[in-house]
């Protein structure tokens, strides 16, 4: 590479400083890639970690009961109630934090199941080709022809309200993306030499797929899944907002914002859950971007 090329080269590693923001930190060799994460990704991870912990442990935090009336209704934020109270006198902050216990596990579940189903189908389609490929890909194409929210709404409506049904609807909407991603990766990896070697060595087809191909196919899926986590939270909240997801009095974020929409002048009711969703989505974006940077710089 000529000097001029060297210098005008803006490869993705340039997006984050090559040494990351922690030059002094000592890390075991396996975790060395963490250094390359940009600061935004680290902040994002901390935030998500907070929400995960919150979702799992909030009931022991000694907060006011999110379902009970604890003070006068519709009070503006004050020292006693940092985010004020809602139409039924419940503490908004407590409800927001408890909302994580509804929203986060749902998102985890939906993403996990979608990734599992989608990746499996995509891998089978990519590896075996033929009618399996045709069937899986056509189904994926058809599903992706629907605007996601409308499809989710329709399925959720058909199945009935409730977070479980909403989750099923979301999985149906989401799996095709992962099917496509995995299929594309499998198609590429299966041409590689070590696969040929394994087949020549007598490995069965399924074994080749699982042991030799799939371990190399995870990168795009991983990046996508982290970003999707935020999107799923968003979609779940949207469904609840419409009335198809969480059932009152559950403190789910979307449902809370819906309530806030009716009590328009009491802006604080919607503020808490809105900010919660925002922080989750932004953090996931940062983590996804950071992971992509790390994987890009590894490959180049």
């Amino acid at each position: 590479m000529s000097v001029t090329e060297q210098l005008s080269n803006t490869n993705p590693a340039e997006r984050s400083s090559a040494r990351g923001p922690w030059p002094g930190l000592r890390l075991p060799k396996r975790l060395a890639w963490v250094r390359k994460l940009p600061a935004t990704a680290v902040i994002g991870s901390i935030v998500i970690l907070f929400w995960l912990i919150c979702a799992m442990t909030v009931t022991w935090w000694g907060l006011p009961d999110p379902l009970a009336m604890v003070a006068r209704r519709l009070q503006a934020p004050s020292l006693a109630h940092w985010l004020g109270t809602d139409a039924l006198g419940r503490d908004v902050l407590a409800r927001t934090l408890h909302g994580a216990a509804s929203s986060i596990p749902i998102a985890v579940g939906v993403v996990a199941v979608s990734v599992f189903i989608g990746s499996t189908l995509g891998a089978l389609a990519g590896y075996f080709g033929g009618w399996i490929d045709g069937l899986v890909m056509r189904s994926a194409d058809i599903t992706l022809s629907f605007p996601p929210i409308l499809l989710a709404m329709t399925i959720a409506a058909a199945l009935g309200p409730g977070l479980t049904n909403a989750s099923i609807a979301m999985v149906v909407v989401w799996w095709p993306i992962y099917a496509r991603l995995m299929r594309a990766q499998v198609l590429e990896v299966r041409e590689r030499e070590h696969v040929e070697a394994a087949v020549a060595g007598g490995a069965g087809r399924l074994r080749v797929l699982i042991v030799h191909i799939m371990p190399l196919c995870w990168t795009p899926t991983l990046v996508n899944a982290t970003m999707d986590f935020g999107q799923v939270v968003l979609l779940a909240a949207s469904l609840s907002f419409i009335g198809l997801g969480a059932v009152p009095p559950s403190p789910e974020w979307g449902a809370m914002i819906s309530e806030g929409a009716t009590k328009f002048y009491n802006w604080w009711i919607a503020f808490g859950p809105g900010m919660a969703i925002l922080t989750v989505v932004v953090s996931c974006s940062f983590i996804g971007d950071g992971l992509r940077d790390v994987f890009d710089s590894r490959e180049s």
């Binding site: 590479m1 000529s2 000097v3 001029t4 210098l7 005008s8």
Partner: protein, 348 residues
Amino acid sequence: MDATASPSPLLDIRDLHASFRGPKGYSEAVRGVDLTLEAGKVLGIVGESGSGKSVTMMALLQLLPATSRITGSARFKGRELIGMPHEDIRRIRGKQIGVVFQDPLTAFNPVITIGEQIAEAIELHDSSISHRAALSEAEHLLDMVAIPQPGSRIRQYAHEFSGGMRQRAMIAMAIANRPALLIADEPTTALDVTVQAQILDLMQELRETLGIGLVLITHDLGVVAGSADEIAVMYGGRIVERGTADDLFRERRHPYTRGLLDAIPKMVDMPESLTPIEGTPPSIWARPTGCSFHPRCRFATERCRHEDPMLRMVGATYSACHHAEDLPAIAGPASAASQTREFTETGL
């Protein structure tokens, strides 16, 4: 500046330095280069990648990254280019100095037709010309560089041309405004050998017709063998040997020049194997001490490791080697070189 009064050179570069910012501060890619070019003549600059040959020329037109630092003097038709305000340089680019780049496929914009791009070169420097006139001039230019059916070609895109034709189109674009100086940066590297000769001939022809001064940058000595009046060999950001083509090929008073010549396959006198120059050229961030060629040089001595040789007149050429005087004796006669020269002149 009246060119008839005293024949001042078209291009006069003195002590040019160009440095780039890297992870550990600035490092020089060009370390004190002196070159001159008379109007209508051909100057060949030869060197491997990293030698600084392209950077030298790009520095003239301020086409280097913004973080680069350029010092020294480069006078074009008497005007100082280094430090010239951006607006003035812009007027010289494409109008008085044309550039032909290495890979015409990437050097042309893939989504704009060739005709439009050539017309643009004209319109940028002539606001009064109509678009249609510019396009017809583009067609005329394509004809000048021997591209058949120029009328339909101007409506095509770069990927529809063959490699050789693309490079011709690039040349057409570079001379569109009849510049006084044409810089060709590795114009034949991306092309087949047979096409190379055609392109070089084309450039020579245009030079003679239009009286353009030509700077030919290449890593291949064979390319400049037949065409250049003067040749400068660069290594490690410096000129290591300079002289007229005849003198350089005959005397070869630098180990690097010899290495380059030895590395050319000779049809006439088939050796068992080619002799490449061992090692790789240094990056600008990690240059050897003393003479930058010493790690790869067969004749290196202790002095070479510590002292960077100056460019000085030795025999008929300028050479930057401590042992320049002794080289012909140590390394052997010049006959192999003149044989090479004959071959490259007639064979290509």
